[in-house]
């Protein structure tokens, strides 16, 4: 090989190494964060953490039972509101979305997906908190639902589009009405994928904090009323992490570990379901 060829090969090798190093740094960041979360979080978790509500500031002990229940309620309610709209919009995009409206909706969904969640919080505040003069879990759920809708629309569309057109044609040939074909054959076939999309959407909003700051607000006491302020794990972490007490910091790490675990379990389940169903196609 000429010297030039050797140099070119060396450059190629060097760039390959650089790319590997850059990727390792990205992966290292993940390992560090998850590692710290495990180490600092696990040491702070005990039974009281899951069963008790917070104790007054400065005292030690207490738990975040109210925040765990609050997260479930607020996110569950958000799913009730957001899933029908998001999935419906996605069905529209997949079934009828070839025209100008479809293009616009698709584009807007993509743009909305990047909208700052804090702005969504302001909008929910304006429509619910301001007129009722009260912070409420419901307002938080509406904010989270708004965040879910564009994401669900796009993932649903993707999943429904994977259904082969021949299935549609077969159902229609058998005399099924279009709406029936769409719901009972097309949506049914794509159901696993749609559920996956919904789970991932839920996992995403479960960790959101910004849109809840002035909607759900947070609550130090145990509350089940959706018209009252309610605590979530994310709000709890924010307050405890930025507070002055060591015991709060300890609870913040523990809450963060629980929240991360929750998010991971939901999204890994979703991925696992998808792989079971579609693994061989891809």
């Amino acid at each position: 090989m000429s010297a030039r060829a050797v140099r070119r090969q060396l450059v190629s090798r060097a760039m390959t190494a650089l790319v590997v190093v850059l990727s390792l740094i990205a992966v290292l960041a993940l390992v560090l964060i998850l590692g710290d979360l495990m180490v600092k979080g696990a040491s702070s978790i005990d039974w009281a953490f899951f069963t008790k509500s917070p104790v007054p500031a400065g005292q030690s002990g207490g738990g975040v039972a109210n925040a765990i229940v609050g997260t479930a309620i607020i996110v569950g309610l958000a799913a009730l509101i957001g899933v029908p709209i998001g999935v419906g919009a996605g069905m529209y995009l997949a079934e009828y979305g070839t025209g100008r409206l479809g293009f616009a909706v698709r584009f807007i969904a993509d743009v909305l997906n990047g909208t700052p969640s804090i702005v969504v919080g302001i909008v929910a505040w304006t429509f619910i908190v301001k007129p009722t003069h009260r912070f409420s879990a419901l307002a938080g759920s509406v904010a989270l639902a708004i965040l879910m809708i564009p994401m669900l629309a796009r993932t649903t569309e993707e999943m429904v589009r994977l259904v082969p057109n021949s299935l549609r044609e077969a159902a229609l040939a058998l005399g099924y009405a279009r709406w029936r074909t769409s719901l009972k054959v097309v949506a049914r076939t794509a159901l696993g994928g749609i559920v996956t999309g919904c789970l991932i959407g839920i996992a995403r909003v479960a960790g959101e904090t910004a849109p809840l700051l002035f909607t759900a607000l947070g609550n130090l006491n145990f509350s089940l009323s959706v018209t009252q302020p309610m605590q979530t794990l994310s709000l709890q972490i924010y307050v405890y992490a930025t507070g002055p007490f060591d015991d709060w910091h300890r609870l913040a790490w523990a809450s963060a570990l629980v929240l991360m675990g929750l998010v991971l379990v939901i999204s890994l389940t979703a991925r696992w379901v998808t792989r079971q169903r579609y693994g061989r196609i891809r």
Binding site: L22, I25, I85, V111, V123, R154, E158, N165, E208, F214
Partner: protein, 335 residues
């Protein structure tokens, strides 16, 4: 936080046939079908309505501040709730500075991941690496903030900042005392957060580059890197720029993690060691404390600026990405 689905985006598919509806050739519609279509259309219309309502809410509530301060709101650097004078310049500056710092760090990392995953890595390790990077997007923002406060900032204070000062201490970017909460901490946290987004979209873009481009370069005797540099990257350039702009959009609007580590001070300074403020952080911190209607209105105007900025940035990014991966929703499920 989001789960980026590397796997959920199908490979680029053939162009849809140019018919008004995929149903058209199949069967005539009757009334129930029209009702079904009507119902779905209503649900789909929720999205355009949503974006218009959001814009409307922000605009209407920002009107008092808009009338009072006019366009000078954007370049006034006083933010004084007592004197009722509001200018967003420090926040706009802080938002842009933190985002650009984040891009500076995140773009090389993300492009490295994308190139590794599409060009260099053996097939067997591609999926695991993609999965790990994707997990970065699954970490909630507030958890990044927590980690930033208790791990990143002490690490910066103990090791990184002294080292940086020793080498680059003479530059204006590293003046002043480092207390922890700073533009630097905010930028680094943001960088880690946007890596998975830029990487996911870049990867989709690079996957959309036809194999023939690579093969042609290799057949001409190019090394693997030369094939990437001279054939693959130029072909995907618009899409890659789109991916970076999309990451910028993410960084601009990111709230919690930044609020927790950037220091939240209404100051404009080019030293990355000093505290700064961002638009999203200002809303998060001050919205529920805004005592006067003009104060609240000023915060709505900050929200309006942020919203318009991110929508514009996202729209540009989307158009660029669609140009490369036409018809495919590259990365859309990621974002």
């Amino acid at each position: 936080m989001t789960v980026v689905q590397w796997g959920a985006v199908p490979a680029p598919r053939a162009e849809q046939p140019k018919v008004p509806s995929r149903w058209q050739a199949l069967r005539g519609a009757d009334r129930s079908d029209r009702i079904y279509k009507f119902a779905l259309t209503l649900l789909a219309l929720a999205l355009p309505v949503l974006i218009i309502v959001m814009l409307g809410v922000l605009l209407v509530n920002a009107l008092p501040a808009l009338r009072r301060f006019g366009p000078s709101f954007l370049w006034t650097s006083t933010w004084d709730p007592v004197a009722e004078i509001y200018g967003a310049a420090p926040m706009i500056f802080g938002t842009l500075a933190a985002s650009f710092l984040a891009l500076l760090i995140a773009v090389p990392l993300a492009l490295g991941v994308a190139i590794l995953l599409t060009e260099f890595a053996p097939r067997s390790v591609r999926q695991p690496i993609a999965f790990l990077v994707e997990l970065l997007a699954a970490i909630p923002s507030v958890v990044y903030g927590l980690w930033g406060i208790f791990v990143l900032i002490p690490f910066l204070r103990g090791y990184v900042v002294p080292a940086l000062k020793a080498v680059f201490g003479w530059t204006p970017f590293l003046q002043g005392v480092f207390y922890g909460n700073s533009l630097l901490a905010g930028g680094i946290i943001l960088a880690i957060m946007i890596v998975p987004y830029i990487a996911a979209v870049s990867r989709e873009v690079l996957l959309a580059v036809p194999a023939s481009q690579r093969e042609a370069a290799l057949a001409m005797g190019a090394t693997r890197w030369e094939a990437v540099r001279s054939a693959v990257l130029p072909y995907g350039r618009a899409g890659l720029i789109g991916a970076v702009i999309l990451g910028l959009g993410r960084a601009l609007g990111e709230t919690m993690a930044v609020t927790m580590v950037i220091g939240n001070r209404h100051d404009i300074g080019i030293s990355v060691l000093q505290p700064a403020y961002t638009m999203a952080a200002a809303i998060a911190n001050e919205f529920s404390e805004a005592t006067t209607s003009l104060y609240l209105s000023a915060l709505f105007e900050v929200g309006l600026v942020l919203f318009v900025l991110t929508v514009a940035v996202n729209a540009i990014a989307r158009i660029l990405i669609w140009r490369v991966a036409r018809g495919t929703p590259a990365g859309s499920s990621a974002l």
